[in-house]
Symmetry: C2
Subunit: 571 residues, 2 copies
């Protein structure tokens, strides 16, 4: 596999074989290694010394299920630390078919400007994109697909990324050509914006699939793996991630009004059943995949009463962060806000958290959908309020003098209150990425590497060990190109070792697979430490330890000393 | 000497003898020890676990010259690290006369509210201050002096501090009862605001002066010391700190247009001579002391053409940061901006830097005094723009996506470009306070502890050692209550050892004096490290290393590795 270096200072592209030391890595394992090796940890995230790497996973292009996600790695302007954010997009598959593992953007334009990177069988080229300046991602996607083919896969930034807002996402076109999928977290969109790139366009590539060392074994394992996922994940196909609304509300862990409550009085109106029924009744779609090869299809297409498209996909995390967290409780509002966020190109989780802080400060009124949409319009037009909204929750709290900000290392928490979801709280505290639910989805039914270790959602026992194990397994998933729902699962780790062996002919053991996770996490932590983000920052804001969460009135009672033991310097 | 603990959760005050371990410390040495011992480094700066300590120096109330400054110590909401900021104010003297060394504010009001702390011979009491809510510092001071006597010394926050803006200052009333003196840096005003304190009022106290162990020796040394200062600092008495304008411009180190140039085309219109002549012609005052006991009198009172008071005192650092740094070049504009900043209660250095960043981003127009004043009005009224302006340069840069932000550890640089003032650059990089010119005034005529070591302003040789030595000596000054201009001077360090011995009867050597500085700096760095601010953050932003400063086109060429050797873990 090759990599393409895109030098934005010189505006040149160079295709070269993947250097030997990176040859056996993909996805997050690869992006984090390149960033750690080539980016000075103390550099400015929006300056010429930062790089941004787009890489598909080790299994990209194969028949392994749900393995087509693509990783974006960089130094984050939001956290100041290393970042990997991945997204389901066919670019991962197309690049694999072109024999390309990674795109590495370097330098910075000498003069302001806006460009596309187009990658196809003819190579990679930089094209002028000034006609797309200031456009939302939806308009941009429509024009790009018209120009490069309806099956092209595009990674696009919106007005937020062009303005280098720290909560900017990179939006990927979905199976229907709409920019509804996000490499959302950590401000990757701002870094792409700082390089002058409006979009990466990969027209449909029909090239060769990877050469399998042992195709029969591979296909047989992949087939059985797919069947297992199809069976296990049926509820996701029906209710999507919104199935979590009811459960999280029941355990009183659903962030409401800037994390001041753990349950929401109108949860029934926005739960998985309500979403499913509404979409079905209106003629939307409740089970769409995010990329070719997905067998779970947890995404949905949300339409209005007239059956007109509003957004895709309404996901649990976004729903809560712009719903209960803002005291908003109807699906149409959530869908309209989600659409506006995707269009302007902001991380919906981070921005929901930022708005919750703004509401606590009285800058925006609680529960006011129109005020939220109007603020997002201001993101697009670049007013001071807009720029503040696009800067994320931590900066919002700093500017407004708000103490209760649900963030770690500058990145907002997600739709799981850590006083209920104790393991998730450990993940928020210790992930090198800042607060992030995908770092370690510690929810019931997700054991760690030692299934004999029992844990209760709201109790501290064994949560630190669980979190460490899940982080290791998730890092493996992020590196192979798997989606989150393939997930942290010992059986799938073993299966992946067999798949990699069958694919490459290099004997890969279960231990090797886990070591991929461990070594990648340690590299990320070392980068962060050199960037000034050390173990002292592996903690939640003080109010989560101090203030009981109504109605159950638990606090987060796992200390930084307890998490540090297992979660720093992983063995 | 005693200390008073003010518990703002319970709204109680307790006077108690200074605990033994603090008995021989004052000023910064005391505030930093109390903060390091009693404040969890990871706490939220605006929360109940932070404390704010107000302490006079070890020589307060004595006849030692210029020894009446008062230190404010806390965990800074601007940097996240430890902070000491001191100010000339008679409160230092009055508290000494009341036998009080320190005020320690703790906890946080259970319900929002605004109070005064009044300290007099009857003790300390908390009084309602709701009638002062939202008032500028000038109106507040006028009302407080009317109520508590014209000679009262008040430490006041403005609307910025009430709103807990991270660049908020604590303003002290000057010899004329005007709130023109600032414990400006690091957001101390926001912390006082978070405690619900609008002002600390110390009515004139006529109590006993400290008991001298050996009064004759003390007075004789103090007298000779005063005469030396009077003689040496004559230029400060004539031109004030504005005398620096001409020199800094000549060496091309005066930050212009957000540190993009080192010299300013209209420097002659704002230099020391121009300021002196303008004030003299209009009937202002060019040589005012900031507190009783000052023999230098470097302050001025700036009046308009009709002889009406505008502001006091127009100082070099403010003049440059709101002048050339913003492309503004007339004294009346500088004076009006300075007055507005003092009145709203913002650090003029930090806010000047923040506005320079805002101008680079196009949010405010270059050189537009009215736009600056209008933005400061918005600070008072609490608009989003106002809150952003009050959040300091680093946050301004984050929100606007500006890479060229002159700051270290979240605090802005001052009116000395580090590419010219190399030693000052080392101080910016290594001070535990963030960028700060008072950390180590490395300008010609200021040798370190080894006067044989020569250095040139713009050359790197010996600058690190010089910076370390100056930081040690300045920390001593900050602990004894001296003003900056008594300063880093071996002879004055020796003199201070004799003064302390004569005052207390405890034999204090020159080495003991230096150790006071070293130990205090190490305590501060240890606090910062535990707060997540380690040696990796001892560096300037990358563009100071990369981008030559016109017109001389030098870069800052002293590496973090070079400064770390001598300036971290001081011996």
């Amino acid at each position: 596999m090759d990599m393409i270096r895109i030098n934005m200072t010189e505006r040149t592209t160079t295709r070269e074989p993947m250097p030997e030391q990176y040859a056996h890595f993909g996805g997050r394992a690869l992006t984090s290694r390149i960033i750690a090796d080539l980016v000075p940890p103390s550099c400015h995230a929006l300056g010429p010394h930062n790089k941004i790497v787009v890489a598909n996973g080790l299994l990209a292009g194969t028949t392994a299920p749900n393995s087509g996600r693509i990783s974006v790695g960089t130094k984050s302007p939001l956290t100041g630390g290393i970042k990997e954010s991945n997204v389901g997009a066919n670019a991962g598959l197309y690049l694999a078919r072109l024999g390309i593992r990674a795109l590495v953007f370097e330098g910075m334009p000498r003069q302001p400007g806006l460009w596309l990177l187009v990658v196809d069988a003819n190579g990679a080229r930089i094209e002028d994109a000034s006609q797309y300046r200031g456009l939302g991602t939806y308009d941009t996607a429509e024009k790009l697909l018209a120009a490069y083919g309806q099956k092209a896969s595009c990674l696009i930034i919106g007005p937020a990324g062009e303005q280098k807002m720290a909560a900017s996402a990179i939006m990927a076109t979905d199976m229907d050509g709409r920019p509804s999928r996000a490499a959302g977290r950590g401000g990757t969109g701002a870094v792409l914006g700082s390089k002058g790139i409006k979009a990466i366009v990969v027209p449909q590539a029909k090239g060769e699939l990877p050469q399998y060392h042992d195709p029969e074994t591979f296909k047989s394992i992949a087939r059985e793996f797919s069947q297992k996922l199809i069976k296990e994940k049926e509820m996701l196909r029906v209710f999507g991630t919104a199935g979590m609304v009811k459960a999280a509300n029941m355990v009183q862990g659903m962030p409401t009004r800037n994390y001041s409550l753990g349950s929401f009085d109108r949860a029934d109106a926005i739960n998985g059943q309500a979403l499913h029924d509404t979409i079905k009744k209106r003629g939307g779609n409740v089970s769409r995949p995010c990329h070719t090869g997905c067998v779970i299809s947890c995404s949905n297409i949300y339409v209005d009463e007239a059956g007109e498209y509003i957004t895709s996909s309404l996901e649990y995390e976004t729903m809560v962060m712009v719903g209960p967290n803002l005291d908003i409780g109807d699906l149409d509002s959530l869908a309209r806000i989600d659409r506006a966020l995707d269009d302007v190109g902001l991380d919906s989780i981070e921005t929901g958290a930022a708005m919750g802080v703004a509401m606590e400060a009285g800058l925006l009124p609680w529960g006011d959908t129109d005020a939220v949409l109007s603020a997002l319009d201001e993101v697009s037009s670049g007013t001071v309020l807009g720029k503040l909204v696009g800067s994320g929750a931590a900066v919002m709290g700093k500017v407004l003098g708000v103490r209760r900000v649900p963030q770690v290392k500058g990145q907002s928490m997600v739709a799981y209150d850590p006083r209920t979801f104790k393991g998730m709280g450990c993940a928020y505290a210790t992930s090198p990425m800042g607060a992030d639910h995908t770092a370690a989805p510690a929810i019931p039914g997700r054991p760690g590497l030692d299934p004999s270790k029992k844990f209760e959602l709201t109790e501290k026992e064994n949560q630190v060990e669980l979190t460490r194990d899940l982080q290791i397994m998730i890092t493996v998933c992020d590196s192979l190109g798997y989606c989150f729902f393939v997930g942290p699962d010992i059986e799938n780790m073993r299966r992946s070792a067999l798949l990699l062996t069958a694919l490459t002919g290099r004997r890969t053991s279960y231990e090797d697979i886990l070591d991929l996770g461990v070594s990648t996490l340690n590299i990320e932590k070392a980068f962060n430490r050199a960037a000034g983000i050390g173990p002292d920052q592996d903690r939640l804001p003080e109010h989560f330890y101090d203030e009981p969460l109504p109605p159950h009135n638990r606090t987060f009672d796992i200390t930084p000393e307890e998490t540090a033991d297992l979660c720093y310097d992983l063995k």
